[in-house]
């Protein structure tokens, strides 16, 4: 202590959110999940909701989200997180209830539960990680896999006649009467991380203010599934994912603003 007197609470400029525990993360280097987990933990902490939050984790890479953020959780069957969140929030209206789901969980096997929870206007937030691939099972085609993109189940690239088209789930969600806030963010730069955090905060506040459903899509990287280095994956995402999944608010009725892109 005497050799480093500047290490003291009043000098802290940055620290891990208290809600993030020290469990060793299973995510791959460069994966967006770690950053998004941190943002979720920070926002819950900053809102003072640590004792009132219940998260619902999916099946997919984020299945173990409950291992890292120190709040109460429920682990859902594949795709069913929005149904579970619906019941929790209806029965405990003063709790902050959110789901954290990947593209396969939310936009493929759980499409019905996602759309109907959003369309009922449940006062929940869905955090939607879109990395265009099934990461946990080893890199198979996802509903959001881009045209021409290679995965282990479309090894010659996604093509319309065999695989159909990538699903822009947030665009669908924005059309639903029950949603108050639909936004698409990314966490590839410091500025983008700040914007994503603001979006998560906005969504959680909507949930607590009974404004309806909020969807925060985070266009993400999967360096393992994409078979790239983290730096290459970020670059590839900007060049290929962002043009197809443009960032910005798709809908924000709370701010009473017209939908705007970018």
């Amino acid at each position: 202590m005497e050799n480093n007197p500047i290490i003291s609470p009043e000098n802290v400029v940055y620290q891990k959110p208290a809600l993030m525990n020290d469990n060793h993360m299973h995510y791959c280097p460069g994966c967006s999940h770690g950053v998004v987990h941190k943002l979720v933990a920070e926002v819950i902490e900053e809102m003072g909701m640590a004792d009132k939050a219940v998260g619902v984790s999916p099946v997919g890479c984020a299945v173990f989200a409950y291992n890292y953020i120190d709040i109460d959780w429920q682990e859902a069957a594949h795709g069913r997180a929005p149904a579970i969140a619906t019941a929790i929030k209806r029965l405990w209206p003063d709790r902050l209830v959110f789901t954290y789901q990947g593209d396969g969980d939310l936009a493929c096997i759980g499409t019905a539960e996602s759309i109907h929870a959003l369309n009922r206007g449940e006062n929940i937030t869905i955090i939607f990680i879109n990395n265009a691939i099934y990461g946990m099972t080893g890199g198979q085609m996802a509903p959001t896999t881009l045209m021409g993109m290679k995965t282990s189940t479309c090894p010659y690239g996604r093509q319309a006649d065999l695989h159909g088209f990538p699903l822009k789930f947030a665009d669908i969600a924005a059309q639903l009467e029950g949603t108050c806030y639909v936004t698409r963010q990314s966490v590839h730069t410091v500025a983008a991380i700040r914007r994503a955090k603001k979006a998560i905060r906005q969504a959680f506040e909507n949930s607590m203010n009974q404004r309806g459903s909020s969807l925060v899509e985070i266009v993400s990287t999967c360096s393992s599934g994409w078979k790239m280095t983290p730096v290459e994956a970020n670059k590839w995402m900007e060049e290929n994912m962002h043009p197809f999944y443009p960032l910005g608010d798709l809908k924000n009725t709370v701010a009473d603003k017209a939908p705007q892109q970018k």
Binding site: A83, I84, A85, R90, E113
Partner: protein, 361 residues
Amino acid sequence: MEQQEITLMKGNEAIAHAAIRCGCDGYFGYPITPQSEILETLTKLKPWETTGMVVVQAESETASINMLYGGGGTGKRVMTSSSSPGVALMQEGFAYMAGAEIPGLIVNVQRGGPGLGTIQPSQGDYFQATRGGGNGDYEVIVLAPSSVQEMADFVDLAFELSFRWRTPAMILSDGVIGQMMEKVVLPPFKARRTDEEVISQCPWASTGRTPGRQRNVITSLELDPAVMERHNLHLQEKYAKIRASEVRYEESLTDDAEYLIVAFGSAARIAQKAISEMRREGIRVGLLRPITLWPFPAERIAQLADGVKGILSFEINAGQMVQDIRIAVEGRTPVAHYGKMGGIVPTPEEVASSLKSLLMR
């Protein structure tokens, strides 16, 4: 003393009234014949304005059972109802609830199958209820009402059992009991537990972090084989305790019986009538009516098997419970099955003549 209110209503309506009266916190369901009156009655009674009970029409049975998982996982008394094909769709959720040790009530008002089958009554889901269609080693507590009164009474009982053992419980009814009207005395009003009561009574529930306990994670997932085996052994120990302590059945005229009919639910009502007719003819037949299909009254059936010339399993299906009877009886006495399918409900005369032809040759 509060005066008993006697009313006339359908079994399905009795379930809805009883749910509100026994402090149910939430109902999540999807319409399907022949049980839609449960959701219809609940939405008509608007319990959210009186007791605060939540009623949600879900987008599918898959969503309903997962809402049950979510609500039950927070320690609330939650229920769903459906009929055979809809309950088939829920099987995955039962396994998750059993694995994560979540209480919850499922009502199955059975119709004929397989597949879309028919909307007429059946008891073809005995296997579905007692063997389970979900994955892994798990059991569901199954109660079989044979009257509208029991439809009302079993709602609270099922919740009590489900919370006592932290495992899903089912009321396995059928289209006859669900649709028929009978006199019923509804259970007295019991207040819903407050949030504070839920938190203190269910320290395992994911209600938001609470001082004095670790944070709660409701999950059925565990990748460490040793830990997962320990969890499975714990479940099996629990199931053994349920088998030892929660068997329920009703007997009539078994003291002097030469023959025994085993029947549950609506079939037991028909069997009762068949037995009085046979008794008039001098044939001494008794009835054992399992009230819990799981745990099954195997021990009692084995005792009775020693004193009778034969046992008839009368079920409105192709012969499902008869397997459990044979396992219980272990060859001590002949065991036959009689039943009909396709939505046809047998008459007492048919039951009597089948007993004579199958067991009295």
